[in-house]
Symmetry: D2
Subunit: 145 residues, 4 copies
């Protein structure tokens, strides 16, 4: 039975600069928070994302979606959940949830491809990252193998 | 026969601060560019968006999607097209295309609802904006009426 | 003998979006970090900065200075120290230090005036904040009085 | 008689994302605008700043100062003047003025050193840029020599 993917939870404090004159957090900042949460999740694979870049690869964003349900505000402490929703040989999909306490404020998805930093060419999951990322996507299978 | 919606084109010069260490524009900035293009489009309705806020309303973002095809880079001059893709009584959908010359770099969609600034409550298109926004969505119908 | 002002220490994790194509943190982000550290410091006075705004006042920035000694990088965890370096009846000066472990990366100063949110007019330190801010500036004097 | 340095003027339209909940432009954005203006000024030397990076050099920021006199707001069109206020063999100082029409909103200074991109080491003004930058600093002297 496939297990749920590994979830990372990242706590952030809303920054004043993240608000706009509507008095709420500007919607573009959620993508920045997702990225912070993705960094945290990658770390759970055993590689900090900057180490992945040191291996010579980028996880380039090819698409994103955000659904905003309730506004985040200055003074809020939020938690961002991230998990690897889909892992194919050449592309990944991460999913996100932003909460203030129990309240769900936003959800999101980002899709990525692997790119060789030097050439800019698309590539498969770099070999040293295959097993670690597989374990993020399906922890039990990682445990079995 | 319905006409195409009005398109605004906004030219922007990529800012150094918009790049990240991958050497390309960070993906969150496209949402900021879309907003600039949306401001320009609103102006074509006869109202600058800050005048809409002066009337006591916000166009709150409820969702966004971006598809990234090719990276934008520092040194690039880009053009952002925006148009009102769908206009209902309580919600709007804008669409966007980012180009470097003829080359399509990204596409996007943002969805919005009208909110009364004072109460934070959802509302219908404010009366003074109905006709102007209808003309953005379908210029010929505006011309006929 | 005057005591040192109260110091707040805020830990931050560098965000990918904060880097630029030079491969280091873009210099404008330090002002955003300072603000986060200032928020933390205000909280030590007993008021979260959003509560200060709820009282009807803003601490508007009138000047800033940053000295950059060493670059911060993605993957770094930094600590930002902030303290109230000067407190006059109508203006304040905060000072900041950014460190990676023991290493001093940057120093900064921001100057502020009190503004009535409603009218936009300059004003003296709002009465409910006088004693709390005095204690931030000189903890021992606050204790004596 | 030394002439005034070359001035570039860059026009910008305030972006909604640049505002904060105080209803004015967040103070960190002025550094981003200064950089845009600096890019424009560099272009007047005959080199776009990305060409300078292609030569293998960075102009790293070592300090900045901003004085804020009046707030910029969403809906404003601003002009940013930039000039090379001081040019030494290893360091440069740029100065800036932000205006809304005739009204001076802010002034600023940034100081920079030349860095070899590959090694990260400080260096003198790269040879191909010496004459162009000298002409920015003192146009008449460039004309005489």
């Amino acid at each position: 039975m496939p297990q749920d993917p590994v979830r990372s939870t990242t706590e952030i404090e809303v920054r004043y600069a993240e608000t706009d004159q509507m008095g709420i957090v500007h919607h573009a900042n959620y993508l920045v928070w997702f990225e912070l949460a993705r960094t945290r999740l990658c770390t759970l694979s055993g590689f900090h994302y900057h180490q992945i870049e040191d291996l010579g690869y980028h996880l380039m964003v090819t698409s994103c979606q955000v659904g905003y349900r309730r506004a985040a505000r200055y003074g809020d402490t939020l938690s961002i959940d991230a998990w690897l929703a889909e892992l194919a040989s050449r592309r990944l999909r991460f999913a996100y949830e932003v909460r203030r306490g129990e309240e769900l404020l936003a959800t999101g998805i980002t899709e990525h491809v692997w790119v060789e930093a030097e050439t800019g060419r698309l590539c498969r999951t770099p070999e040293p990252l295959r097993e670690p990322f597989r374990r993020l996507a399906a922890p039990s299978m990682g445990a079995d193998s």
